[in-house]
């Protein structure tokens, strides 16, 4: 491929810095399309092997074959960040992508959610993930592919079930209940004790063991790795490796609209201000930009999914126009998609963009619903709550070691899909090695208990 774009990287970086973007240095690397595709499938350049990635890989191959998906870049935050650019990109595309990547780098360095997760995971997730892959390969060599696969089946099935509000390296629960407060030895106490002299009041001589878990625990990966009665240490390590990668993926997931919007806003703006770009490349890049942020496919009138690039881009344009860059940077630092959409998607903007809500019946009928801003925001966000997974928590370990899981169907609004859930319980059962039960509700809303045999 042409190496021309590399000449522009430094100049775009300078321009970005002058425009107020603050980013860690980024390593740019042009890689073959096949590798781009693998990064998209695995989410990381080097990641643990598992057959489920093979399934995604096939789908991705088909997508590419049908020309539906084209990947220009993938960027990994860190210090330095890593950006992979498709070798098939043209000069204009690469100029655009470079600016886009710097927008991401600014975002991931300053957004609080990213910062907190990077403090936990460190700024070297790419290297960590490669290290996990190597550890797991060693486990495969030692314990055999089949055993490792059973552990990964369970761990990856639970990959969304973490608690990012807790630290990555999390201590065990306290072993004992907190001691009751020492009683104040006041006048009343003395008179009270005098009533029953045979039973002197003794406080906290026997410390009570705390229950495990002390409260419903939604960090299932951590809980199982820490409290499974018969897990081997290498199996626990695999669970914790998956959990660490999930800590990295969470901010990417929870800020997608903001982050892609921010990067798109900046690639458009930097492109406009970059007077050093040849005329033709500039035109090509603008065309490429409009493809990326296009809300509706060219041959369609209506889209039933929202392009996050488009939505984020439009929101940021509005915010910066109305409140200025300083305010926008503040929002970028503090919000995630939930706050971003709820606070800044107004009725006017929704109408301007032509956003609507629809219901799709099980018989295939799709009908547009009436305007309702909070409900529209909800439709945009409901797939993102709780890392996109139902709220399932570990509630109790029975005396015989049975793990009790509970699904919070009130929060989620309906019960779990029983077939799939039963399969997940089977995965978990193989590492927990004692029975696993899960309570949820059925289609009629009455209690349903799923259990492993």
């Amino acid at each position: 491929m042409s190496e021309d774009w590399k000449a522009y990287v430094r100049r775009i970086e300078d321009l970005a810095a002058r425009s107020g973007l603050q980013f860690h240095p980024v390593d740019f690397e042009a890689v073959p399309d096949s590798f781009m595709m693998e990064i998209a499938v695995y989410g990381l350049p080097v990641r643990m092997p598992h057959w489920s990635f093979g399934v995604r890989y096939i789908y991705q191959l088909i997508q590419r074959h049908m020309g539906n998906s084209r990947l220009f870049e993938v960027v990994f935050p860190g210090n330095p960040g890593h950006a992979y650019l498709a070798e098939s990109n043209g000069l204009a595309e690469n100029i655009l992508v470079t600016a886009h990547v710097l927008g991401h780098a600014d975002f991931s360095r300053n957004n609080l959610l990213f910062r907190r997760c990077q403090e936990q995971v460190s700024e070297h997730i790419v290297e960590h993930a490669a290290n996990h892959a190597r550890q797991i390969q060693q486990a495969i060599d030692t314990y055999g592919r089949h055993r490792v696969e059973l552990v990964l089946d369970a761990a990856l099935a639970l990959e969304q079930h973490i608690d990012v509000d807790q630290p990555l390296r999390r201590p065990k629960y306290p072993e004992y209940l907190p001691e009751p407060k020492p009683l104040v030895d006041d006048e009343f106490r003395k008179r009270f004790a005098a009533l029953e002299p045979s039973a002197p009041f003794t406080a906290g001589e026997v410390r009570k063991r705390a229950p495990v878990p002390p409260h419903p625990e939604r960090d299932l990966l951590w809980f199982i790795a820490t409290y499974a009665p018969e897990m081997e240490s290498w199996e626990r390590d695999i669970f914790l490796a998956v959990r660490e990668e999930s800590f990295y993926f969470y901010p990417v997931f929870a800020t997608q609209i903001m982050n892609e919007g921010w990067a798109s806003y900046w690639h458009a703006r930097l492109l406009r201000e970059a007077d050093f770009i040849p005329q033709q490349a500039y035109l090509d890049a603008i065309k490429c930009h409009s493809d990326v942020v296009r809300p509706i496919a060219a041959d369609q009138q209506i889209a039933l999914t929202i392009n996050p690039y488009h939505l984020g881009f439009s929101l940021w344009e509005k915010i910066i126009e109305a409140e200025g860059l300083e305010a926008a940077r503040k929002i970028m630092e503090l919000d995630d998609d939930f706050g971003f959409v709820r606070n800044h998607l107004t009725r006017e903007l929704a109408d301007e963009l032509g956003l609507f809500r629809y219901s799709a019946r099980s018989d295939g009928q799709i009908k547009v619903l009436e305007h309702d801003l909070p409900a529209l925001q909800e439709s945009l966000l409901h797939q993102k709550y709780n890392f996109g997974a139902p709220s399932v928590a570990a509630k109790h370990i029975r005396v015989d070691g049975t793990l009790e899981l509970v699904h919070d169907h009130v929060t989620d609004g309906r019960g779990l899909d029983p077939e799939r859930s039963r399969k997940v319980l089977e995965y978990v059962h193989r590492v927990w090695r004692r029975p696993v039960v899960l309570t949820t509700v059925d289609g009629q809303g009455s209690g349903l208990e799923l259990r492993t045999p």
Partner: protein, 389 residues
């Protein structure tokens, strides 16, 4: 490391150009599919169209495996957000299917789903499925007591050129090249030849009669069901018993003997007179086989609707066959309705079994159950055999 400045030197390829992790995990996925296909083989292959054209393989469509996660139940009405020119109340898409039909579990087939077409060798399938099956009541009969045969056994460094095992030889070469000082090309030491050994096998001489009712009352589906039962039985038995002979008979109000390929294509119309079939079998036995020298079996498939006037004749004819047979089996194929063998012919076999003859019946209603039928006849009995001294 600064990647920006230098490009990759010529001839030094990056690791990701040599190795595709996606392809590796894809292969692993396919391996798992094969394993699970193997586990569910009976249901999968029973319905496959295998009887035609002496095909050597079966194509089985399979879904991609799903790695399960906790998911919410699919609601009747899903809500989403869209974009474009649409007013409240617009119907963007009319109903396309029955209401409620969208609700499907993991077994459901959602649109856009990819299906793989797995090609399986019939030999392999039979290998997997016939592991524990055998002919019931097999007895040693007077006859040629042993067969001898050449079988492949082991490898040697010398041998006829035609039996050179290239794969093995190549492995040897690769192994030897682990040593850095080794000669890089093939040497005589690397060559491996397949060896043959003479094996003695006890001969059990068996003749299996397959008899099919092709009268008008048998629907196409019934006939196909019966034929696929026969197909898998023939495939399996033929592998287990080298010296097995097969005879194919079909009947309506008359009976004919067919060759195997004809038999699997045969169809007919008209009434049902089962006795003609049994008599035909009887006739063939008398002409060609000595019941004292070989094991005789009869498997009969019908919908059970024998003509009313034939009851007595059929009973007599069946008995006369059963006298000499090691086992007679009856498969009742009935579309949909499970009639539980409460038919003319069903009763005939029940009487036979009650009278102490080795006989058994099975009601086959569905393609999924073809292997159930095969198993019914070829496992239960063999276990009984093992138990007897």
């Amino acid at each position: 490391m600064d990647e920006r400045g230098g490009s990759t030197p010529l001839g030094l390829t990056k690791w990701y150009e040599l190795f595709s992790r996606g392809a590796r995990d894809w292969l692993r996925h396919d391996e798992k599919v094969r394993d699970s296909v193997r586990e569910h083989l009976p249901q999968i292959v029973a319905g496959a169209d295998v009887i035609n054209d002496g095909a050597k393989t079966v194509r089985v469509p399979v879904r991609m495996l799903e790695h399960y996660h906790f998911r919410l139940r699919r609601p009747d009405d899903q809500q989403g957000a869209g974009q474009g020119k649409a007013k409240p109340g617009d119907v963007l898409q009319g109903p396309t299917r029955q209401r409620g039909a969208g609700e499907k579990g993991p077994g459901g087939q959602e649109s856009g789903e990819v299906q793989l077409l797995l090609e399986l060798k019939i030999d392999d399938i039979v290998d997997w499925l016939w592991e524990e099956m055998q002919l019931p009541n097999l007895k040693a009969r007077v006859g040629p007591s042993e067969d001898t045969d050449w079988v492949r056994e082991g490898w040697d460094r010398r041998g006829a050129r035609s039996r050179l095992d290239r794969r093995r030889s190549f492995k040897q070469l690769v192994k030897r090249r682990g040593n850095p000082h080794a000669t890089p090309s093939f040497t005589d030491e690397d060559l491996r030849f397949r060896q043959l050994a003479r094996r003695r096998q006890p001969a059990v001489h068996a003749v299996v009669f397959f008899m099919l009712d092709v009268s008008g009352s048998m629907s196409d589906r019934d006939r196909k069901l019966a034929k696929s039962f026969f197909f898998w039985v023939v495939q399996g038995l033929r592998r287990e018993y080298r010296s097995m002979e097969t005879v194919f008979v079909a009947h309506t109000t008359e009976a004919w003997e067919f060759t195997e390929p004809e038999f699997f294509q045969v169809s007919g119309t008209g009434g049902t007179v089962a006795s003609t079939g049994f008599l035909k079998v009887r006739e063939i036995i008398s002409e060609r086989y000595n019941p004292n020298r070989c094991n005789l079996y009869l498997f009969y498939a019908s919908d059970g609707d024998n003509s009313v006037g034939d009851g007595h004749a059929a009973r007599e004819a069946l008995r006369s066959v059963a006298e000499d047979a090691c086992y007679t089996g009856y498969v009742e194929v009935s579309s949909g309705l499970s009639r539980q063998l409460a038919t003319e012919t069903g009763r005939l076999y029940a009487e036979l079994a009650a009278a102490g003859y080795p006989a058994g019946s099975y009601a086959l209603n569905d393609y999924d159950d073809v292997w159930g039928a095969v198993r019914h006849f070829f496992t239960a009995e063999s276990k009984a055999l093992e138990n007897s001294p």
